[in-house]
């Protein structure tokens, strides 16, 4: 079992620890609901060091990335970030990643903890005809995320000049002589930042934020709230909304697929019309939908839930499901099978919640 460099801090904060993607991670410190609300109302800090960092550089770096991901990497200028799935030939998803352009021929990929090895191997295999270097440096770096409306003020108080940092851009900075990278990105829908730095610097950075965060009500947030926060704003989670058998168009993130690109892995299959799509739904009958539960309509099995939960800020039981095209319009009536009984639900617009403050 792997531990992040913040493991001792989580234990001293009395976190409940669980195995996630082979890492011992905090699922909650206080309560999932309290942590979720603290991010929406104030600010929260997450240890996301289990995520991976893979560097792609060399003469053909841009050409290679343009071929291996579905979004348009040409759009990137120095200091910009793009979100994109990586697909197999059949359109199924290897992982959904962020690509940071440091400069020409020099990119950093941030991948999901559960897929780092898989992404690295896939990039090695598919880059054989390109002049690129692929380096997996995940074990050298740690990452923290700070999210919530009070975050910009907290960051400034902590000495980080970020007021000019636009959404999906990053800058280099320094903390205690460690080079750090600050991006305006996040997985909660709130205004927030993610910071990547060498492992040796993360403990003091974490404590530095806690000191600066006292007046902003900063709290540590675990993976439990991380999941309810992302679900509330309808962000995909690999293994649920995106998998090796659910493609990005089916997952309703077709905006990440640039079908005008001349060639890329998965293009042929992603051009086909889909027969099913990801929808958001709200429970009408009182019960909690969860991933894997089957969806019914007109007495037929028409799909399955990919994620579902009680959502603390909007205070409702809601979820995401892949359903056949016939039932994807808003207001469609569906049933969720929960413990062998049918419970009524209705298809609703996504996202379920949009934070007032700009992300």
């Amino acid at each position: 079992m792997n531990k992040t460099f913040l493991y001792d801090e989580h234990v001293s904060l009395n976190a409940k620890m669980v195995d996630f993607a082979g890492f011992l991670m905090p699922v909650s410190y206080d309560s999932i609901i309290n942590e979720h609300l603290n991010v929406r109302n104030h600010s929260g800090i997450f240890d996301v060091s289990h995520m991976g960092e893979i560097f792609v550089s060399g003469k053909d770096a841009e050409k290679f990335l343009q071929y291996v991901v579905v979004n348009n990497v040409n759009k990137l200028s120095d200091g910009k970030i793009i979100y994109t799935p990586i697909c197999y030939e059949n359109g199924g998803v290897v992982d959904d990643i962020l690509i940071y352009k440091k400069m020409n021929c020099d990119y950093m990929i941030v991948a999901n903890a559960s897929n780092v090895e898989k992404v690295y191997n896939w990039l090695k295999t598919t880059s054989k005809n390109f002049e690129v270097n692929i380096l997996n440096k995940s074990s050298e770096f740690s990452m923290v995320a700070i999210q919530g409306p009070k975050t910009p003020a907290l960051m400034e108080k902590a000495g980080f000049n970020i007021l000019d940092l636009k959404y999906y851009t990053f800058k280099n900075s320094v903390f205690n002589d460690f080079p750090i990278l600050i991006s305006r990105t996040g997985y909660t829908g709130e205004h927030g930042f993610e910071i990547i730095l060498p492992n040796e610097g993360v403990k003091s950075l974490w404590n530095h934020f806690f000191k600066a965060g006292i007046e902003f009500n900063l709290k540590p947030i675990g993976l439990g709230a991380r999941d309810t926060l992302r679900l509330e704003v309808c962000f995909s989670l690999y293994g649920h909304e995106l998998t090796e058998s659910i493609n990005p168009i089916e997952a309703d993130i077709g905006w990440t697929v640039d079908l005008t690109k001349s060639d890329f892995i998965g293009k042929k299959n992603l051009l086909n019309p889909v027969t099913r799509k990801l929808v958001g739904f709200e429970m009408v009958d009182k019960s909690i939908p969860r991933g894997g539960y089957q969806v019914f309509a007109d007495n037929k099995n028409v799909g399955f839930v990919t994620s579902g939960s009680f959502l603390p800020y909007i205070n409702k039981n809601m979820g995401l499901a892949i359903v056949n095209n016939e039932y994807t319009s808003v207001n469609s009536k569906i049933q969720i099978e929960i413990r062998q009984k049918m419970y009524n639900a209705v298809v609703v617009k996504k996202p379920f919640y949009s934070p007032f403050n700009k992300r």
Partner: protein
């Protein structure tokens, strides 16, 4: 150390039971609510339902998971804690008091019920 009341009996599946003549009141232990964290939904059993010792009688849902609650003894459900419909968090805040879940009419004094000490050893 989480709370274990001395005058209650416990099951291996973390329910507690309090006998009062031929009526028994059932809930889940402090340890159980702590493991589950925020309880957001309780599917209360219907009054009159026949309960069999060791079988699922109801379900308690936290944010992360749905957990089966097993009846510690056989009997018939005579009362349910309707407060839990609007305030399921009572199980977290007061698992042995206001967070009780249901009551049974029963002549079954229970087999395999654990004393407070035995339960303490189980969860240590």
């Amino acid at each position: 150390m989480l709370n274990i009341l001395e005058n209650l009996k416990y099951t291996k599946s973390h329910e507690w039971i309090k006998f009062n003549g031929n009526v028994a009141r059932v809930g889940i232990s402090d340890h159980a609510q702590h493991e589950l964290t925020d309880i957001v939904f309780v599917e209360l059993p219907t009054i009159g339902k026949v309960a069999n010792a060791g079988q699922t009688i109801t379900v308690v849902e936290s944010v992360k998971v749905a957990a089966d609650i097993y009846s510690p003894v056989s009997g018939k459900v005579t009362a349910i804690n309707t407060q839990l419909e609007s305030n399921p968090g009572l199980i977290n805040s007061d698992p042995y008091g206001e967070g009780w879940i249901f009551e049974l009419e029963t002549n079954d004094s229970g087999t395999d019920l654990l004393s407070a000490n035995d339960y303490r050893s189980l969860i240590s």
